[in-house]
């Protein structure tokens, strides 16, 4: 069987952090369990009934004890809460820049991975050691969940919205990808592998694949195919906002709010344009594309619009 561990391999920057927190909880848990077991055993044996007529003295309670065994566990729990919250916020907040962005679409029952450079994979993900990787997760049908035990991270993949999943791989190797939200017949076969490679090998892999169009190029084709170019580029009457340098910046809306133009905003602007109108423009001008564009071309479109923001 080889060496058995209760921990899966540690392949992300946070895996050790999560394991440390887990270790703390194990310590407290095992400690508390042993404490209770000890006292129960002790009392059960020490005070075993010797005489059927035994009538022990009544001890009704002790306020100091009640306070002690309420407050002390609560304080320990506060540590768990604070530590867990801090780590969660860190693990669920991707870095704002310098991330390697990859796009993952889940559908019954496979993972479709698109790289900005145009590479595509099914049930396989390749990432380099030492770089922050940000996955944008989309679903074409039901709720799935993208789970890499070796990274200690999972996130549900929810149809109708984008979810973000970020990590920094630390150790090369091949690790499981599992779907972790029941999604129908082949849920347990919606699995794959993430291959973490040293940076130079990763570059080789990237350029070694079939040379094709990048996601942005494909997105530009989608942009033309659906007529977006007619309004957003060619139109001289100012019916619609320009898309240059929009992505990643704040946008002022007509109702006074300011929102960040991230992937989710661009997606919503395409599928449900009337939800947020840019200041100075009007509703009911842009057609509603809900149900007209599949998830993969939508992601390509978004990568194209991203590319219009010069960096």
């Amino acid at each position: 069987m080889g060496s058995f561990s209760i921990f899966p391999p540690r392949a992300s920057s946070t895996a050790g952090e999560v394991d440390a927190l887990y270790g703390f909880l194990l310590l407290v848990g095992i400690g508390m369990t042993l404490l209770i077991f000890f006292f129960v055993f002790l009392f059960a044996i020490k005070y075993r009934r010797k005489d059927p007529e035994d009538k022990p003295k009544a001890i009704h309670g002790s306020i100091p004890l009640e306070i002690a065994w309420s407050v002390i566990p609560f304080l320990i729990m506060l540590v768990m809460f604070a530590w867990g919250t801090k780590l969660y916020f860190q693990n669920y907040t991707p870095p704002l820049k310098d991330t390697l962005d990859i796009y993952v679409t889940g559908k019954q029952w496979m993972w479709k991975v698109q790289y900005p450079g145009g590479q595509r994979e099914i049930n396989e993900l390749h990432v380099p050691v030492g770089r922050a990787v940000k996955l944008t997760l989309a679903s074409e049908d039901v709720i799935h969940s993208f789970y890499i035990p070796a990274f200690r991270l999972k996130h549900d993949v929810v149809p109708g919205s984008y979810q973000t999943y970020w990590f920094e791989p630390t150790k090369s190797g091949r690790y499981h990808i599992f779907c972790a939200e029941y999604c129908g017949t082949n849920h347990s076969r919606m699995i794959g592998w993430v291959t973490v490679m040293e940076p130079d090998r990763y570059q080789e892999w990237l350029s070694g694949g079939v040379q094709g169009e990048s996601m942005a190029d494909k997105g530009e084709k989608v942009f033309e195919q659906y007529g977006c170019v007619n309004c957003h580029v060619l139109d001289q009457q100012g019916r619609c906002p320009s898309l240059r340098n929009v992505f990643g910046k704040p946008v002022q809306l007509e109702d006074g709010r300011t929102v960040l133009a991230d992937e989710a905003y661009i997606r919503e602007s395409i599928l449900n344009p009337n939800a947020k109108i840019v200041k100075g423009y009007h509703r009911d001008v842009m057609p509603v594309f809900q149900g007209q564009i599949a998830e993969e071309p939508l992601l390509q479109l978004i990568v194209y619009i991203k590319s219009l923001s010069a960096k």
């Binding site: 009337n274 509703r283 009911d284 509603v288 809900q290």
Partner: protein, 215 residues
Amino acid sequence: MIAQPELKHHFDDAGQQLESSTLGMWIFLATEIMFFGGMFCSYTIYRSAFPEAFASTSHFMNVTAGALNTGVLICSSLTMALAVRAAQIGQKKALIWLLILTLTLGCVFLGIKGMEYHEKWVEHHVPGPSFHYEEAQYAQNAEILFFLYFAMTGVHAVHMIVGVGLLITLIIMASRNRFSAAWYTPVDMIGLYWHFVDIVWIFLFPLLYLIGHTK
């Protein structure tokens, strides 16, 4: 013949029995609040997500029918309260007539509701394969609103129908001299139920019919 308080064997006295019935009915009404609450919650969430679509649907609601129904139910609550009062002072004839009046008003409500549902069916506003909405850009979200409309008013109507059945039972019991000033608990309890069903409608009406009618 004067009816005696009907003391069930497991109660010690009439006071305990009445206290139990009253507490039981209030708890039941609390469960009903939670039951309708889930739908009100869903409505609130979708309305705040799609305000214009929801406002546009209210233009297709028959506000006249809804307002009429509101008036009908409020009147029926009045007649019900008067019926409870009549029972309290042992006036059998007044009790029966007021119950009949309440029942009639309840049936009027259901009739108007049925007419509205038919209207919706003809207009293709019933969610499902035959749904079609005039303002195309709101169609999807409008279908959700109409879904909630039928779910909420439908569940409400089911409660009204049950209420009508309960009123018929009360009328039969009253005409058989089962009630007296000493014991009229079922009238009291069903009165509470009826008022509750009325109050639910008071919330449904503005939320479903009146949004968007501010201009």
